[in-house]
Amino acid sequence: MQTEQWLYIGVFLVLAPLLPAAAILIPRLIAPRKPNKIKQDTYECGMETVGETWIQFRVQYYIFALVFLIFDVELVFLYPWAVAFDVLPMFAVLEGVLFVAILIAGLVYAWRKGALEWR
C-alpha cells in the first residue's frame, strides 16, 4: 500500500523533468545557433561587466534564512502532533501549545533584537 504510493512518486520524479527537458531540446534542433562574443556577454544594461560576479552578500540574508530554518524544523515536528490530534488528551494538546509558545519566544527575541528589520 505505502510502497505503491512511493513507487508512484518515484516514477513521477523520474518523468517530471523529461517534458521540460524535451521543451529545451527541441530548440536545439530547429533554432538558429550563431553565438558570438557580444551575444554571449553578461547582460548588465549594456555596460561592460566589472569585477567578479560571485560577489559577497550582506549578513541580513543569512539572518532570515536562519530564522526560517529554526521555524521550519519546529513546524515539521508539529505535523505528527496535528495528525495524532484525535487520540491526544487535552494535556498533550497543551504540550504542543507550549512547544509553539517557545517558538513564539524565539520570534519575539529576534524581533526585539531588530534582526527582522531589513536595512
Binding site: 505505502q2 505503491e4 504510493q5 512511493w6 513507487l7 508512484y8 512518486i9 516514477v11 513521477f12 518523468l15 517530471a16 523533468p17 517534458l19 521540460p20 521543451a23 529545451i24 527541441i26 530548440p27 530547429i30 533554432a31 538558429p32 545557433r33 550563431k34 553565438p35 562574443k37 554571449q40 556577454d41 553578461t42 547582460y43 548588465e44 560576479t53 560571485w54 560577489i55 532570515f64 534564512a65 530564522v67 526560517f68 521555524f71 521550519d72 513546524l75 515539521v76 508539529l78 505535523y79 496535528a82 495528525v83 495524532a84 490530534f85 487535552m90 494538546v93 504542543g96 501549545v97 509553539v100 509558545a101 517558538l103 513564539i104 520570534l107 524581533w111 527582522l116 531589513w118 536595512r119
Partner: protein, 400 residues
C-alpha cells in the same frame, strides 16, 4: 460506476498483465502512462493559461487583449510557443552549463510534481500519500533551490542578487504558509490531501477562513507575483534571477509561474473549498474535475485580480509584513484552533462552526486593529519633518 479513469486503468492493467508482464512492471507502466497523460494535459492547459492571463489583464485594464489570431485570439499562445521554440538559445559566457540548464527544468518539474497528490475527482488521485501536505512543502523547497541554481549559474550580478532576494522572500513566506497548512491537517487529522477533501463536510473556508487567507497571501508571495514581485523589479535588477535566460528556457520559467498560480488555486480548492465536491458528484464522478477546475480558476482569477490591482510592495515592508504580522497571527491562530478544537470535542457541528468562525474573525480583527494602530504611529513618524541637508549658500562675491 461511471468513472472513466478507473475503468480505463483497470482495463489497461488487465491488458498489461495479460501480456505476461510482472505486476510490478505493469504498475510502473500504468503509473507512467497516467503521469504522462496528466502532465501533457497540464502543459496544454498551461499554454491556454497564457491566453487567459492576457485576456483577463486586458479586461482589468480596459483593453481588448489578444484578438487577431483565431476567434478571441485563441491561437495567440500557440504562436507564442512557436516563437519561443525557434528563438536562438544563448548561454552567457562563464555560466555553469549543467546547473544553468537544470534550473528551468526543475522549476517546471516541481510544479508538475505538485499535482501528484491533488485529488481530481472522487477516487482519482495521483497517489494518496499519507504525508501529502508535507510532500507539497518539500516540493516547494526544491523549487526554491532551482531559483538559487538559476541565479548562481548565470554568472551575472543582477541574477545572483535577484535570486537571493527571491529566496529570502520565498523562505520568509514559507513560514506562515507551513503554519496555515497545518490548520487543515489539524482539522482533518490527516496529512493526506484526499483525506482532507473527504473530511470537509463543511468547507474549511468556513471553519478556518483566516488560515485560508494566510495561505493565499503567502502562496502569492511564494510564486513571486505582484504585489510581491520585487524579484523582477525591472527598474532595479532588470529581471531578477532569470535575466540571462532566453527562448524556451525563459519560457519554462514563465510557464512554471503561470501553472504554479493555477496549482495554488487547485490546492486552495482542495484544502479549503472542498476540492472536487459539489452537487451530483457522487452519481457522476467526472463532474469532480469540472468542479475542481471551476474552483481553481476562480482562485486563479482572484490572484490575477490582486496582481493587477495592487502596486508593488517595498522589500522592507514586505518582510515586515511577513515576520511581524502574518507569522505571529498564524501562530496564534494555530494555538487558538488547536485548543478550541479540543475543547469543542463532542459539540454539534453548528456550534463548532460558529465558534471557529467567530474565533477566526475576532483574531483577524484584533490583528488588524493592532496593525492599524502601528500604521498610524508609523505614518506620524514618517510625516514628521526630517532634518534637511541644505546646500551650502553660495557666498556672494562683491564686484568691485
Amino acid at each position: 460506476m461511471s468513472d472513466p479513469v478507473t475503468i480505463i486503468a483497470n482495463w489497461l492493467e488487465g491488458l498489461l498483465l495479460g501480456w505476461g508482464l510482472s505486476p510490478l512492471l505493469a504498475t510502473i507502466i500504468l503509473n507512467a502512462i497516467g503521469i504522462l497523460v496528466m502532465a501533457a494535459l497540464l502543459l496544454v492547459l498551461d499554454i491556454f493559461l497564457v491566453w487567459v492571463e492576457r485576456k483577463v489583464v486586458a479586461r482589468f485594464q480596459d483593453r481588448l487583449g489578444p484578438n487577431r489570431l483565431g476567434p478571441y485570439g485563441l491561437i495567440q499562445p500557440i504562436a507564442d510557443v512557436i516563437k519561443l521554440l525557434i528563438k536562438e538559445d544563448i548561454t552567457p559566457r562563464g555560466a555553469d552549463r549543467l546547473v544553468y540548464n537544470l534550473a528551468p527544468i526543475l522549476t517546471l518539474a516541481t510544479v508538475l510534481l505538485l499535482w501528484a497528490v491533488i485529488p481530481i475527482m472522487p477516487n482519482v488521485v495521483g497517489t494518496d500519500l499519507n504525508v501529502g501536505i508535507l510532500y507539497l512543502v518539500a516540493v516547494g523547497a526544491i523549487a526554491t533551490l532551482a531559483i538559487i541554481m538559476a541565479g548562481w549559474s548565470s554568472n551575472n550580478k543582477y541574477a545572483l542578487l535577484g535570486a537571493f532576494r527571491t529566496v529570502a522572500q520565498m523562505i520568509s513566506y514559507e513560514v506562515p504558509m507551513v503554519i496555515a497548512l497545518l490548520i487543515p491537517v489539524l482539522l482533518a487529522r490527516s496529512m493526506g490531501v484526499s483525506d482532507i477533501v473527504y473530511s470537509q463536510e463543511v468547507w474549511y473556508i468556513l471553519v478556518a477562513p483566516a488560515a485560508a487567507l494566510i495561505f493565499l497571501i503567502s502562496s502569492i508571495a511564494e510564486i513571486g507575483r505582484a504585489p510581491f514581485d520585487l524579484v523582477e523589479a525591472e527598474s532595479e535588477i532588470v529581471a531578477g534571477f532569470h535575466i540571462e535566460y532566453t527562448g524556451m528556457k525563459f519560457g519554462l520559467f514563465y510557464a512554471g509561474e503561470l501553472l504554479h498560480a493555477l496549482t495554488i488555486g487547485a490546492l486552495f480548492a482542495a484544502l479549503f473549498l472542498g476540492g472536487w465536491s459539489g452537487p451530483g458528484v457522487q452519481a457522476v464522478p467526472v463532474l469532480g474535475v469540472f468542479y475542481l477546475l471551476i474552483k481553481a480558476f476562480f482562485i486563479y482569477w482572484v490572484i490575477m485580480w490582486i496582481k493587477y490591482s495592487l502596486p508593488r510592495i517595498r522589500i522592507d515592508h514586505m518582510l515586515n509584513f511577513n515576520w511581524k504580522f502574518l507569522t505571529p497571527l498564524a501562530l496564534v491562530l494555530l494555538l487558538a484552533t488547536a485548543i478550541a478544537d479540543k475543547a469543542l470535542e463532542g459539540s454539534t457541528t453548528v456550534v463548532y462552526i460558529l465558534v471557529m468562525l467567530g474565533l477566526n474573525i475576532v483574531l483577524v480583527l484584533g490583528a488588524l486593529a493592532l496593525a492599524r494602530g502601528y500604521a498610524s504611529k508609523e505614518r506620524q513618524r514618517v510625516g514628521e519633518p526630517k532634518p534637511v541637508a541644505r546646500p551650502p549658500q553660495p557666498t556672494v562675491i562683491e564686484q568691485s
